[in-house]
Symmetry: C2
Subunit: 337 residues, 2 copies
DNA sequence: GTGAAAGCGCTAACAA
DNA sequence: TTGTTAGCGCTTTCAC
């Protein structure tokens, strides 16, 4: 049972293939009567136009590519969901690719997207270096970058990481915390760099010295590293008054270690995360964290990309202001005056 | 800057388009020298073959479709991840579609998949009724169903829901629980029906009477419903000794309500979930639940689908045995002898 | 208002 | 071993 083609429809409707094409496109020059016959024939034959053939004729595929470093990270998973939903509303589908933080894989994924004639691409690049390499491959394919790894001439959508951590740090200071530890993130991560910067600035303004703990070297398993470091931290020595985790994932690992060591949050140590992934809002977790509005961020990225594809806009830059989401993992301490 | 085509490569390499095609396919009849020239030309031109054209020539698209009722449900999200990963290993990409539990949307998604010439499709159908309707549309397109909504002549991969809840109920009985409440799920859900069946069987064998609470009528927001019902349950009257939640999502909502009412789990009431979504393993949550091995299930589905596509197998049926994952939300009670 | 013909980029059959 | 030719299903001129 072969699929029906436009010729089959044309034959059944008693017109030419060209007319069928025009009728389905609802062109004004075609008679209502002809359109009716064509639609009827399509229905009878269960005709579905072949998009491959259509795209070959220079049409669009209505497929977007999305490339992220790690889809098992709930942050990207959530953003992907928002992107797929928004794209679907506009009649686009999205092809997802996971670079696994491997620059070679990133290039391969882009090749594969190109081969599929996607109309545009959304990329969360691994690093500015990798970004520079794949930029060339893409030619003038419409593209919007997600997050911070891009060069200045690209379109991008990002949240202000420094501002987010600045606000969170101010919150901790306001609660009376003076000994605050910035915990986690890879030392190669620009995201971490920016978050640490906002953190330090707030502390400096408050006249407080900050500490930080960073994953240096080739740490593949950042989660495992965080867990082990937290276990070490909670081994018995003096605790910091508050911990500012690089991300919610890290914060969760800290929570896990705390539980194991009998350290109570927030009674013994306050904790704030970053990203506001869905885990953070769960009962018993109630993690205070910084929201990057990742759903909105994904939606905007799709909108900007479609504007580029449809030639309505050139380069765009969108900056979202993060927002502190206060839950229950921080307590007020009586600061020394 | 137009993308290079096979003709450009052929011209630059000084051979015909057909030779380029063969060289890239690494066919034995082509000289090493020719292959080298072709590869070089491809490199120079940044040539990426056009998959649309290739698929038009009767080739495959190497794209699989995946259709689920609700991707915001972590259960499906997790399975999708497993499916994408396994498919990527085999050189396939997957196009995701969300039916939003709407039968019309389900049909539209399938049409859109057909139009894209996907090689095969993985479906978690909304209901046996919807399944019957879309079955016709697909002709003999390779297809594997995920879960329980399919007719008998299809290929499918599913976990034994009754066996899973049977085991969980036995576990609760073994801990001494006698007053156990089966909580949640839509009354139209076959999944719920099967889980309830296993639950009842175990209780009957233990000489215990079971109770159950079901979402009847057109409940769109099952999560909200669960939360409200749990709040009601925890209002102050006598508590059941244990609650068997229809799913982990439901269990989490029960946890949330319990927290709000000051009901302690497992001290005041034991709780078990179903699905073993990633939330269940988080610190502070530690939900005892039934694992359906959803990652494995997704992988198997991909493998079976590819076997069908490559003509190596016809209809397949895979049944996975669920497994109880004991964490910390159930306690032993001193049963009346 | 509609049809005939050309061509999108590629592969497969047949020649050479 | 390689080139030539035809055709996949569709859209888009250009005629009529």
């Amino acid at each position: 049972m072969k699929r029906a083609t436009i010729k089959d429809v044309a034959a059944l409707a008693g017109v030419s293939a060209a007319t069928v094409s025009r009728a389905l496109d609802d062109r004004p020059e075609i008679t209502q009567e002809t359109k009716r016959k064509v639609r009827e024939a399509c229905r009878v034959l269960d005709y579905v136009p072949n998009i491959a053939a259509r795209s070959l004729t220079g049409q669009k595929t209505h497929i977007l590519g999305m490339l992220v470093p790690d889809i098992s990270n709930p942050y990207f998973a959530d953003m992907a969901t928002a992107i797929e939903r928004r794209a679907a509303q506009e009649g686009y589908r999205v092809l997802l690719s996971n670079s696994m933080r491997d620059p070679e894989q990133e290039l391969k994924s882009i090749d594969s997207f190109l081969a599929r004639q996607i109309d545009g691409i959304l990329i969360s690049a691994i690093s500015p270096q990798s970004q520079a390499r794949h930029r060339a491959l893409m030619g003038n394919l419409p593209c919007v970058y997600l997050g911070i790894n891009h060069s200045e001439e690209c379109s991008y959508v990002m949240a202000d990481n420094a501002a987010g951590s600045y606000e969170a740090a101010r919150y901790l200071l306001g609660l009376g915390h003076r000994d605050i530890l910035f915990f986690g993130g890879r030392d190669t991560s620009r995201t971490r760099e920016l978050r640490l910067k906002g953190f330090r600035q707030a502390l400096a303004e408050g006249g407080v010295e900050g500490r930080d703990l960073t994953a240096a070297g080739d740490i593949r398993q950042l989660r495992q590293w965080s867990y082990e470091q937290a276990l070490e931290l909670f081994r018995g020595g003096p605790l910091p008054s508050a911990i500012f985790a690089f991300s919610d994932i890290t914060a969760l690992k800290i929570m896990e270690a705390a539980e194991e060591r009998g350290v109570r949050i927030p009674e013994d140590v306050s904790l704030v995360g970053y990203d506001n992934i869905s885990f953070a809002a769960l009962p018993r977790i109630h993690l205070t964290t910084v929201s990057q509005h990742k759903f909105r961020l994904g939606e905007i990225a799709v909108e900007r990309l479609l504007e580029q594809i449809q030639g309505r806009r050139e380069r765009t830059v969108d900056l979202l202001r993060p927002e502190l989401v206060v839950r229950s993992t921080c307590r007020r301490v009586s600061g020394t005056p």
